[in-house]
């Protein structure tokens, strides 16, 4: 007799795999229809995966290997995100704590939040010209608002009774900050970082396509369009999806679960 929990887990894994299988099947059918009597080749799942394998084995792709392109994109992404996280958490905490700072900055933040990432292209080009600076700016500016909004929200929504308990015990400002306010809003902060990371990733790929960076995953996609080499574009899309999924479903899920357990948020609400 199999353990019920093990059985459930296996069943779920099988369903996930089946789900991916259905996507591949639909993709294959779409490709077959598209390729019917046409010159330009629409890559099937199989040709994409075998192409991807070739690139992973070191076949050059617009100047360098696919892993290099990936690494360059990841570094750009991380740089923009790191700065946004640093400033966003700092500013968010200050805004959450001081009402006047919240009133002062929240219109600007809301304004930034409404603007879609790609709309920053002209601004980025005007400020930094073609190249590294422009992509960095675009990632930064789209990652920043969710971090600020969620951090400030977390601080503001800290239950008043925690603040009262802390004042009653005579905790000083810094202690209250690090021992009470930050832990109490940690889930909210993590959530903000998570959204920032995801929107930063999306805008990065788009930015690399337009603001002229000679390397990176977005650059490969746009290049392959000119040379009609769609297998490489599809390979890159697979990589983008894989990285996005890993960050969202694995990395952040683990961090959030750990935090939830550590913070005892499982059962208090």
């Amino acid at each position: 007799m199999m353990d019920r929990q093990v059985k459930d887990t296996i069943l779920r894994v099988v369903r996930y795999i089946a789900g991916i299988g259905i996507i591949f099947l639909l993709w294959h059918i779409a490709a077959a229809i598209a390729n019917y009597g046409r010159e330009v080749y629409f890559p099937t799942p199989f040709s994409t995966l075998s192409g991807l394998m070739d690139y992973l084995k070191g076949k050059p792709l617009y100047g360098t290997g696919i892993l290099n392109h990936t690494a360059i994109s990841l570094i750009r992404w991380f740089k923009g995100f790191a700065l946004a996280a640093l400033i966003g958490v700092g500013l968010g905490i200050a805004m959450g704590y001081y009402q006047f700072l919240f009133d002062l900055f929240i219109p600007v933040v809301t304004f930034l939040q409404i603007i879609p990432g790609l709309a920053w292209v002209p601004v980025a080009l005007l400020l930094f010209g073609l190249g590294e600076g422009a992509t960095f700016f675009m990632i930064f500016i789209t990652s920043l608002p969710p971090v600020i909004v969620n951090t400030a929200g977390g601080i503001r929504e800290t239950p008043p009774v925690y603040m009262r308990a802390s004042r009653m015990m005579g905790l000083k400002g810094m202690e209250t900050f690090f021992r009470i306010l930050i832990p109490a809003s940690s889930l909210s902060i993590i959530n903000g970082l998570r959204i920032a990371l995801a929107s930063g990733w999306r805008v990065l790929i788009a930015a690399e396509m337009v603001v002229g960076s000679a390397q990176g995953l977005g650059y490969v996609i746009i290049q392959s369009r000119w040379s009609l080499d769609f297998v490489s574009a599809f390979s890159v899309i697979v990589i983008i999806a894989a990285i996005g999924l890993f960050i969202e479903k694995v990395l952040f899920q683990i961090i959030e679960d750990k935090l939830r357990r550590r913070m005892g948020f499982e059962r208090i609400l």
């Binding site: 308990a165 009653m168 905790l171 832990p183 109490a184 005892g264 948020f265």
Partner: protein, 245 residues
């Protein structure tokens, strides 16, 4: 020890200025156990929050050992109605926050509330009654001049509440603490207190006070308890017929 001198409190709301408390005068002596009862919305909690320093009186002054109360501080420990233990800290870590200026140990205070061995538990692993006991231990660890309790057991079931009433009374006697206690249970007030103070409906003012024998062992639901309860209930009904506790 604590003197509440002609306190009034007015606050602004959508319906305009609302007077929550009006001209309250009360003296609390060392070792007293004072219960505040009265219809809901009469300002019992407002009064205790002003003693704690969370709210400021609009008029009048509260003094603790002659010094006016201006802001919250560890000389006035508070046991809150809702859970106020920090969920990301263990019981021990929660108590440490209160113990910073003391050389007693966490063990000592956990023992007082009968929760020895629960150091490493997180608050969410404890029952409601146990959480309030840890909260009481935390307040004792501050070694305050006075302990303020704002309906601490109101979210517990009847049986647990009575159990905690017994334990609280024992702790109060053994540790010789001064306690101000807000409750909507008259029986609880009679059982615990040396003095019961009845507030009128809003704007709350003191309607009547009962001095009780501090050595007396009350029994819940004894005829004596029930007749005193009846007397207090009738007093309350005098000021408002449709008041609910």
């Amino acid at each position: 020890m604590i003197s509440i001198e002609n306190i009034s409190r007015t606050y602004r709301s959508k319906e305009g200025l609302i007077r929550a408390l009006s001209h309250i005068n009360l003296r609390v002596e060392e070792g007293d156990f004072i219960s505040l009862i009265g219809p809901s919305g009469c300002g019992k909690s407002t009064l205790i929050n002003m003693i704690a320093g969370f709210l400021k009186p609009s008029e009048g002054e509260i003094k603790l050992k002659g010094k006016p109360v201006r802001k919250p501080g560890p000389d006035r420990g508070v046991v809150f109605q809702e859970n106020s233990l920090f969920p990301w800290m263990t019981v021990e870590e929660n108590l440490y926050l209160a113990l910073r200026n003391s050389n007693r140990t966490v063990d000592y205070y956990l023992d007082i509330v009968g929760l020895k061995g629960f150091h490493k538990a997180y608050p969410h692993e404890l029952s409601g009654g146990m959480k309030q006991k840890v909260s009481i231990a935390r307040t004792l660890a501050l070694n305050p001049e006075v302990i303020l309790m704002d309906e601490p057991f109101s979210s517990l079931d009847e049986q647990t509440r009575i159990q905690l009433d017994y334990e609280l009374k024992e702790i109060w006697e053994r540790e010789r603490k001064t306690i101000i206690f807000v409750t909507h249970s008259i029986e609880e007030a009679i059982f615990l207190s040396t003095k019961v103070v009845l507030l009128t409906k809003r704007p709350g003012s003191i309607q009547r006070e009962w001095e009780l024998d501090r050595k007396k062992r009350w029994n819940f639901y004894s005829p004596e308890m029930l007749s005193l309860r009846e007397e207090m209930k009738n007093s309350m009904d005098l000021c408002c017929k449709d008041c609910k506790l």
